[in-house]
Amino acid sequence: MNMKKQAAVASALVLIASGAMADEIRVLNWQGYGTDQEFALAPFTEATGHTVVHDYFNSEQEMLTKLRTNPGAYDVVLINAAFFPDVLAEDLLQPIDTSKVANFADVAPDFAANDSLNVDGSLYGVPWTWGLTSIAINSSTISETPSSINVMWDEAHKGRVSIRDDAVEAVQLAALATGQNINDIQDMDAVEAKLGALMPQIRTFWGSENDWNQFMAAGELDVASYWSGSAERSAASGLPVQFVVPDEGAIGWLDGLAVPASSENVDAAHAFINWMIDPAFYSEWNANGAPASANAAAAAALPEDAFNRKVLGDPEVAARVQFMEPVSEENREAYLEMWQALKAAQ
């Protein structure tokens, strides 16, 4: 509570310093992904006078489409670090003025210096959240926690496996399973063979957390690829889900908050980003199932047994994580073609 008050005071100071009026800021994000949490918005409006309106996207490609065809429509946009080059290539973002984001000082240095977010000495996105793409098991049908990603290829789970219908994610998981660097895959044939062997194991592909939860709740699956924050949320809602970081490692990702070049409410946008990386906001979000915070102070403020502190904060786990770098459009299309051919052969 105290922290929240502090944050409110800090934001109010920013507000006064910049002499800004109450603005309406428009945020472009996935639905239900932090920025539209009821508990965060009301106090933000109270503290700063700015109101927040949301628009949503359902894929990074749609986000890009919306950004480029709606100049001036958005003030804050959530972008995955791996997609920053695509957005920056079209000059769609403006540099972040870190002096207006007081909480930026607490952002973990590794994230703050991320190559995808920093171009020519300017920061274009404030690291906000991060997490892992790995596997989650149905703890009501698998009693012993597997240590290897190869559990997905195990005959015992034939017809009870699922992965996301996403070419890049599928290829990178197969790269992990074949012991390769996900950002520099040398042996694509091995990846293709590995995915080909996975196909008969699969019950269905999932596309969204909604699918995932429903299929798991209906008892259709034993093991499926999943995101760490989502696994937390599913478990919190009572599903028998356990997130696993296997020996082969996991895919790490980082989400940043950015300000479009065409934004006209730049100060309010910065104030909102500052609010979003505040530890007070994060603690409350984490209680409802959230990805890990890129803010070191926020992570440290979590209870000791919190998944995002206990597992993701574990140096042993961190050593196994391969952070996802931007994938060239060329590779993306090649992965998709291979993935479609594999699926079409079913």
Partner: protein
């Protein structure tokens, strides 16, 4: 004669212009832009956009067998769904038009279209709840039958067909009804009084006269089903890859509008060719 023709044309233009002007602004011109994109190597956005004219997006269709085999799979799906819808829906329309009398007919007419007013995504997920293992259907069947039965319908091509038939059945029922209801009952009575058998009446009078409605319904089913992607994705499981899902991927998984557009226009061309080829056969069937 020429004068009458031009008067016809003028009158027709008056009635047609609002609708087709609307379609031009909202559909034809945007699709023309897409058609243009389908001949580019990359979308022409951004300050450093790098693109050139090419036919490689259309060639891609022929270079791997994937797209052609998926299109064939989708056409078969379209035919299956259309035939099932016609077989289920036409008798239903016949009963509605010729057996049911009075006001209950209007009520039933409306009841048939009402399920259409629900959201398709919600509808598809409801089917998932019905079809999945331990879902409503299996529970119901096992409640009736004494022994344990596993239907295993979910995540199969059958589930896709069930979902699509449900989504498109009202089209063929209503268009057939519109034509059947217009058939003069005295015509049927006259045939009957002359000793024509029921089957003969159906085959020689009812079917030919209701053919325009039946065909309109069939076309309204076949055409969109070939490009469908939502039902296959959610209900088809690992068998749910169809031509429509591959097109969708070009817009949501990668930023390849040119290829997605080219695949769409190939779909359009193939569908139009199928309709053109089948129209003389169907016209012959009418007479």
């Amino acid at each position: 004669m020429a004068n009458i023709l031009s008067q016809d044309t003028r009158r027709a233009a008056g009635l047609l212009t609002p609708a087709y002007l609307w379609l031009t602004v909202a559909i034809f011109l945007p699709l023309a832009a897409m058609l243009y994109f389908s001949f580019l190597s990359d979308v022409p956005f951004g300050p450093e956009a790098d693109w050139y004219y090419t036919s490689e997006n259309y060639r891609a269709f022929f270079e791997t067998g994937t797209y052609a085999s998926l299109l064939w799979k989708s056409i078969k799906l379209g035919l299956t769904v259309t035939v099932i819808c016609v077989l289920l829906g036409f008798p239903c329309a016949l009963v509605l038009a010729k057996v049911i009398q009075g006001r209950s007919r209007e009520a039933l007419f409306l009841l048939i279209i009402l399920p259409f007013w629900s959201n398709s995504l919600v509808r598809i997920f409801s089917w998932a709840i019905v079809l999945r293992g331990n879902g409503v259907l299996e529970l119901a069947v096992n409640w009736v039958l004494p022994f344990d039965i596993r239907l295993g319908l979910m995540f199969t091509p059958t589930a896709v067909v069930i979902g699509l038939v449900h989504s498109y059945l009202p089209y063929v029922i209503l268009t057939s009804y519109l034509a059947l209801q217009a058939i003069d009952n005295s015509l049927i009575e006259a045939a009957r009084s002359m000793g024509a058998k029921r089957l003969t009446i159906l085959w020689r009078i009812i079917l030919p006269l209701s053919m325009p409605g039946l065909l309109a319904g069939a076309v309204l089913i076949f055409v969109p089903v070939v490009g469908s992607f939502m039902e296959p994705r959610i209900l088809g499981g690992r068998f749910g890859t169809y031509y429509g899902t591959v097109i969708e991927d070009q817009f949501t998984a990668v930023f390849n509008w040119p290829l997605g557009a080219a695949l769409s226009f190939i779909l359009l061309a193939v569908v139009l060719v199928i309709l053109a080829l089948s129209s003389p056969i169907l016209r012959n069937a009418r007479t």
